[in-house]
Subunit: 346 residues, 2 copies
Amino acid sequence: LGTLSFVGLGLGPDGVSLEGVKVLKDADVAYVEYYTTPHEPRLLEVVQKAAGRQLVVVDRDFVEDGGKILAEATSGKVALAVLGDPMIATTHGELRVRAIRSGIRTAVVHGATIASAAASESGLHSYKFSRTVTVTREEVGRLAQAYRILHENLLDGSHTLLLLEHDVKSGEGVTPSEALHGLLLAEANFKRNVIGERTYVVVLSRLGRSDQKLHAGEIASLRDVEFGEPPHSIVIPGKLHFTEADSISALFSVGPGSVHGNTETVKRTAQTLVPRYIEKTKKALESVRATLEPKYGPVLENVELYLRDAEAHLTNGDDELAMLSVGYAEGLLDSLNFAGLAKIDW
Amino acid sequence: LGTLSFVGLGLGPDGVSLEGVKVLKDADVAYVEYYTTPHEPRLLEVVQKAAGRQLVVVDRDFVEDGGKILAEATSGKVALAVLGDPMIATTHGELRVRAIRSGIRTAVVHGATIASAAASESGLHSYKFSRTVTVTREEVGRLAQAYRILHENLLDGSHTLLLLEHDVKSGEGVTPSEALHGLLLAEANFKRNVIGERTYVVVLSRLGRSDQKLHAGEIASLRDVEFGEPPHSIVIPGKLHFTEADSISALFSVGPGSVHGNTETVKRTAQTLVPRYIEKTKKALESVRATLEPKYGPVLENVELYLRDAEAHLTNGDDELAMLSVGYAEGLLDSLNFAGLAKIDW
């Protein structure tokens, strides 16, 4: 009976655990694969020396196909070494499922990951991190989903980790500046006060490697920083506990007064939109009042009524009903426009 | 000049990395501390053998006080080994800050943590985990905050990791059954359809250790399971991607049909309201179409347009805009009513 073991190499060239070394040593065939993250040049040498054997370097296609690995693991002991923790990439999870379904025993040797290291290294409490966002080259110009997740995380004070894509084969990836620029573009588009030049961020470059470099500061202050070689990730803190602010100040040698979280200006979407729409509708209402035929007066009365409703709902935290009411009031008024009964100046 | 290095021991007795071994070997004095998590009996032996030295076992008070550690690290090389990743516990973060402020160089050797291993081992995508909840003995009878976080996580389809407290010294902690019971009590109290007997959960016992045991199933089906020795943690999945459902089915040898996520019954307010209002407005639209003067046609066209917008916004998770759009559509139509141009049958 065969075995397929996934061995996490952790971070840095010496990140593999004693258990990982043992599994690589005992395997009949040992593969290593690192296509999504640039690795330390020393990595292969260090791991091979520790395991006392050669490792076969394979690429993404080889692992995704998986045919050879599964065939060998049917009768022998196969090990597949990967950076970080093995099951972070869905490819490995899928290969594991295929192995189990083929009657192959599977095992996982865990490794340190960028997610927990990012929390540690930026001085933030790991349990306060909420959903992680991966920024791909394809999406970096249109970060609507990342922007929305960041907004949700900030609303409840959570921290956000942004992982920036990098493809080792093509050498292409997303730089910290591109990712931050993409988020600022999303802000310009959606205007929900989620992120701006004064947003405090931590940029982590080559995390866990010997040449790791970290930068913290407001986005504006990081504009001219050279972040160097990938991999990069970015942490956008939510609400800072005083021990977290203390850590950032100590770790980055910055004055405690200059460190801040990013929840001050963040409002629920309805808190931003409803007052804006109310004001707009009130102005439109006034612009139409003088010239509208009196028999259409009930429309205007109802517009006023529902604007007041919208305000009350917002005060009560009933965001959805506040949006519904202000939308309804706008619709009532705009209908006169579409019906050709009034010329409304929005 | 001195150094204080925090060395993560990862999971299991052989979880320490090659770098960690090197740092422990090179230190003038090496401490190990494991007060919050029960450890493998073999751990100390394995680490000492690898590092070729004795480690001094210290307790929580020793690390929290930190006086001796900092004094020794002023001139010598001190290593402090801890389970998992060193900076997960705030105690270590605080000690690190004090060291930096005393002019001591600090270093962190990362280790695998329960958070990323929990994702791997339960077959779930790690980036879909949102805020982690720690359940303490003190709070287990009143899990209001845990319940709220679980609700928020489920609303956006995220998975939730519940870490159950265990104190090694006193031997006291929270069992999986107690934690689940506590959440069901919160449900009985707050009634938001967040969790119930049919909620699908994964219970992880002694994760990363040689006697690791995992159970998956609906809460009702796990009632009589003996989960064994701590540490325990629980994962409550949100929305399952089909590869995640596949993984659970393979990892836990259960029929794919029996695996399910937990977002079916959990709804955002807009998910309940918008479809209801859309249907209502569509009916009203049809009731007025035949008799309305053709010149008011543009109003009806816009009603249709904004109903489609509302649907699209809801699909994109833009709840506020969905409510705004459906409200606007209703308002457009109802204006004809108030203006006396149509008799609308809502």
